[in-house]
């Protein structure tokens, strides 16, 4: 009875969107298992063990699936150890999506599956918590964005720095940097941002594939064809899968695929650029192997208003500030006493410090005082379970996520082209550059293309 009451409410919930004074957890007695929303995990590799998937307490874990039987067995054991009891092992994600007992799906697969599964999940009436990067190409992202919105599903990405946690080399959340940007402290013209080791960001070049892999016999416990899904068939070699898939263009984009939404989504937010994309991408680096992700030296994005973002792969900009305003005011990561920059998992002495700020002459400014005196940015919807219950879009949804994922996909296209190109942020295509568009818009293996394209 409680279940059907909850489901009936969820279906007609939009009328209640205005009644949000009382927190959903109080309204709905969210702790009662019969009242909890349910979730199932698609894919049970490394990331599924994290606190936002296996251990998340906001919804009840009811099942999982994975094309590797060993992952399924490990997942079932881990779920029980986590206190979820005996959860269901679905034969595949199609069976999982067909289960009316699942409210939310967590897509924990490699990126080449994210687009197709998001669309299929939305079609099945599920709300979606998707790993990053949102999609492998701009074309897939565009389709997911439009479809999820049209189906009225709630969608979030599994990155969070735009609304919580100290941001990499900083002691505080990005909203404090947004306050500075929004209120003109960095001037009213375009800014320049650098992301590299000197600013506290690591591009993880170890996420590289191996050249001259051995072709191996696929273990009988692993469904290689299902794992590949929409990606082109290639001979099985273990390094192309599981913890090392990021190093292969068919599935991801190396460190850019792994980290750029963590880094660039909060930047997009703090620069107030959630509704646009760069008009130019420049690439400096070696020509890439056609199968295997390598490294880059520098990737530069330029927006229409002159804002520049630089991904500093070769660390040649190590001494530069994180952000330079049009008036010369700069923002820097916080350095510990030993000169190192703290990380978000280990802020150390950075904890609760603001960030460094200098004026145009290089004199230190009191960032804490400046920020305290500024008005807060508009509040964000940051509780996904509340989003699902109240049908209120999450702050990092299919639209904002598409834009920050587009930054990743533009960079990956530039790497694979071995050069830069121009981009139209409205038409969402490369400008007069069919070679670039071929990377931005790709097809898929059947039957997954048909599933992706269906109404």
């Amino acid at each position: 009875m409680m279940k059907s009451t909850r489901r009936g409410f969820l279906k007609g919930a939009t009328a209640f969107g205005a009644f949000n004074i009382v927190p959903a957890g109080v309204l709905w007695g969210a702790e009662a298992p019969s009242n909890q929303l349910t979730r199932a995990l698609i894919g049970f590799g490394g990331i599924a063990y994290s606190e936002n998937h296996l251990a998340f307490k906001g919804s009840r874990l009811v099942g999982l699936c994975d094309p590797d039987e060993l992952h399924v067995a490990n997942g079932l054991a881990a779920a029980e150890k986590q206190g979820w009891g005996k959860v269901k092992a679905y034969r595949n994600f199609i069976e999982l999506l067909a289960d009316p007992g699942v409210d939310i799906v967590h897509i924990c697969t490699p990126p080449h599956w994210h687009g197709c599964m998001s669309v299929m999940a939305a079609r099945a009436g599920k709300d979606i918590w998707c790993e990053k990067p949102m999609t492998r190409t701009v074309g897939e992202g565009k389709r997911v964005m439009e479809y999820v919105k049209a189906k009225g599903r709630m969608f979030r990405l599994n990155t969070w720095f735009r609304f919580k946690d100290p941001f990499y080399g900083f002691g505080k959340e990005v909203k404090y940097v947004r306050k500075v940007v929004e209120n003109g402290v960095l001037g009213n013209g375009p800014v320049r941002c650098v992301f590299g080791a000197g600013q506290g960001f690591c591009w993880k070049f170890h996420h590289s594939g191996r050249v001259n892999l051995p072709v191996e016999e696929c273990p009988k416990t692993f469904d290689w064809d299902m794992w590949l899904g929409p990606a082109p068939w290639k001979p099985y070699s273990k390094h192309r899968t599981h913890g090392t898939f990021r190093g292969y263009w068919d599935y991801d984009g190396g460190g850019i695929g792994d980290m750029s939404q963590h880094y660039l989504d909060p930047l997009q937010y703090l620069l107030c650029k959630d509704e646009t994309s760069p008009v130019k991408i420049e690439y400096k680096g070696p020509k890439q192997h056609p199968e295997v992700v390598g490294r880059f030296d520098r990737i530069t994005y330029t927006y229409d208003d002159g804002t520049v973002i630089i991904l500093d792969g070769d660390e040649s900009l190590k001494g530069e500030p994180f952000i330079t305003g049009s008036n010369g005011v700069t923002i820097w990561p916080v350095r510990q006493a030993n000169g190192t920059i703290g990380s978000w998992t280990n802020p150390g002495a950075n904890k609760d410090k603001m960030f460094g700020m200098k004026d145009a002459d290089g004199k230190d400014l009191d960032a804490m005082k400046i920020v305290t005196d500024l008005p807060d940015p508009a509040p964000q919807q940051t509780d996904f379970i509340d989003s699902v219950r109240m049908r209120r879009r999450f702050c990092l949804n299919e639209e904002t996520g598409f834009r920050s994922c587009t930054l990743a996909n533009l960079a990956i296209a530039a790497e694979r082209l071995g050069r830069g190109f121009e981009f139209d942020p409205v038409a969402l295509k490369a400008k007069d550059d069919p070679a670039a568009d071929r990377f931005l818009y790709q097809s898929m293996r059947e039957p997954w293309l048909e599933e992706f394209n269906k109404a």
């Binding site: 701009v138 072709v215 913890g243 071929r438």
Partner: protein, 186 residues
């Protein structure tokens, strides 16, 4: 083994403080795939060769004639065993011939490489028609995706027809759609 690998990567990450020595990254992950070198480490060790091999002049030499193009493509080996430098060359030639493919008729300052593109695409199709190995065929199709056009669809289909492989057939289907620009989102 997975956790040993992750621990090795984490330890390596912590130890890389100054400009990163990418030749060391391969050593940390060597356990995972035997002797196959890691792309970033291989690049770091061979960067001068790669840069020399992929200048415009060096790439132009492979599309000067059908013979030169065919010779380069003959270096593709089955099962991921193509020499990495040759694989990079092939990918770079594909992008070289596509430079300025979208130039407007009046943009005379952007020199199109349509002649070179015709030679390269022709060579890829011919190599496909002679391919006996599934992976070699897939490697070739994977290049045709980026540089052929809709007008070549029939020739590509004919070139792949002799291969009795559902894996080749599925990539061929994908390539045909892409050449016709029937892609999601477009």
């Amino acid at each position: 083994m997975k956790y040993t690998l992750l621990a090795a990567i984490a330890a390596l990450g912590l130890s890389l403080s100054a400009a990163t020595d990418y030749t060391k990254i391969g050593a940390a992950t060597a356990d995972a795939a035997g002797d196959a070198p890691l792309g970033t480490a291989w690049h770091a060790q061979h960067i001068e060769e790669v840069n020399e091999a992929t200048t415009d002049d060096a790439l132009e030499a492979f599309v000067d004639s059908e013979t030169a193009a065919a010779e380069l493509l003959s270096r593709i080996k089955p099962g991921y065993q193509t020499d990495p430098l040759d694989a990079i060359r092939i990918g770079a030639v594909t992008q070289y011939v596509m430079a300025n493919a979208g130039a407007k008729w009046y943009e005379f300052w952007k020199s199109s490489r349509s002649g070179e593109r015709a030679i390269w695409v022709g060579a890829l199709v011919k190599a496909l028609s002679g391919a006996k190995d599934e992976y070699v065929a897939i490697f070739l199709l994977d290049q045709l995706r980026w540089c052929a056009d809709e007008g070549k669809v029939d020739a590509i289909k004919a070139a792949a027809a002799h291969l009795d492989s559902k894996n080749v057939a599925s990539l061929l289907e994908q390539v045909v759609r892409e050449l016709k620009r029937e892609c999601p989102g477009l």
